[in-house]
Amino acid sequence: MRYVAIGCCLLTLIGCKRERRDVRPSPAVSGILGDAAGESTLRPGGGAATQNVRNPYEGNAYAISEGQRLFNWYNCSGCHANGGGGIGPPLIKKDQRDWIYGGDPSNIFDTIVKGRPNGMPMWGGKIPEYQIWQIVTYVRSLNNLEPKAATPSRPDSLEQKTNTILYGKDGGSQP
């Protein structure tokens, strides 16, 4: 009986984590970047400094959908298409070793904030920090690095026509 109770509590935690909608930036996401735009304590290449930083939105469904919206609003899709890649490298990795600068949340965050050689601009100080984390969460969800239960099967928006075959294949097991 006691185990049932404990199990329920755990489920509740998981459920809430996934369903939570903190519409306002949570305090957890401020202060990595200095308030003054730009200068960040992060080192290029996802240095040690960011190892202790964890994604406040990990496994949060609302953050994933927000990240997806921003991915288009801020025109990430301009270079990366819808994860398939274009001018920029694909974000949907065939193999997790393909991440150039690492696929951990802190690495991706770092990449967006500092920018990378060969075209990835520096977004730190432009995009507010909590939104960067939301984009990070979305990018990871593209690679199923986020819990499946929190990830939508596909985007519905008109401006992008995603590679749905790919979603379908890992989305639903063949009936």
Binding site: T164, G171, P175
Partner: protein
């Protein structure tokens, strides 16, 4: 109050294996439900088709005709099996029921195998586009029904073989055959829609 006029029904048969039995009516209603479900899907199919010029979208191979058409043969033939079974059930001949059920089961299996083969030949999934979605939904639902009924038939076969063939089992056999007729019958229009419609009203490819 004593001596009320009475209507004595003890002379009536204690059971009846025919279209008068409640179970038969229940089965017919179940078929009605399934039928309206599938009709709604057909309507959906054409609604979606009207939404686009080319159906299915260019690049999608039309579902091949030969496989499904061949598969019709065992499917239709299997009705003979259910017919024999239900007749035997009415006449209470255990052998006849076993024969009929067996025949039905065998042919149905062949049909399912053919369909399984067909599934793997399709070059689109339910997630490709609207056509893929409705196509797979119809195909999946019908296959699911067939599979369920095949399992039910198998169970009946086991039950009858294991020596129980009282009235209730015999009514079961009769009713099972009704369901099978329905599933076969409903497949004809569905087949027509999902395989012929793209060819006839698919638009210029």
């Amino acid at each position: 109050m004593t001596g009320r006029r009475t209507l004595d029904v003890s002379g009536l048969p204690p059971y009846d294996i025919s279209n008068q039995s409640p179970l038969f009516w229940g089965q017919v209603l179940m078929c009605l439900i399934e039928g309206s479900l599938l009709c709604m899907l057909i309507a959906t199919y054409f609604y979606l088709r009207l939404g686009v010029d080319v159906w299915p979208a260019p690049g999608v191979h039309l579902p091949s005709l030969t496989g499904p058409t061949v598969a019709l043969i065992p499917l239709l033939a299997s009705c003979v099996g259910s017919y024999l079974a239900s007749e035997a059930a009415k006449k209470d001949s255990r052998g006849g029921m076993l024969l009929g059920l067996g025949l039905n089961l065998g042919l149905a299996m062949i049909f399912l195998v053919l369909r399984a083969i067909e599934w793997n030949s399709l070059n689109f999934t339910w997630a490709s586009d609207a056509h893929g979605s409705i196509f797979w939904t119809i195909l999946f639902l019908h296959s699911y029904d067939i599979l369920a009924d095949v399992l039910m038939t198998a169970v009946l076969l086991v039950i009858v073989a294991s020596g129980h063939c009282g009235p209730r089992q015999r009514i079961g056999v009769h009713v099972d055959s009704v369901l099978w007729y329905f599933l076969v019958g409903i497949w004809i229009p569905l087949y027509g829609v999902i395989y012929w419609a793209p060819r006839l009203i698919g638009g210029s490819r």
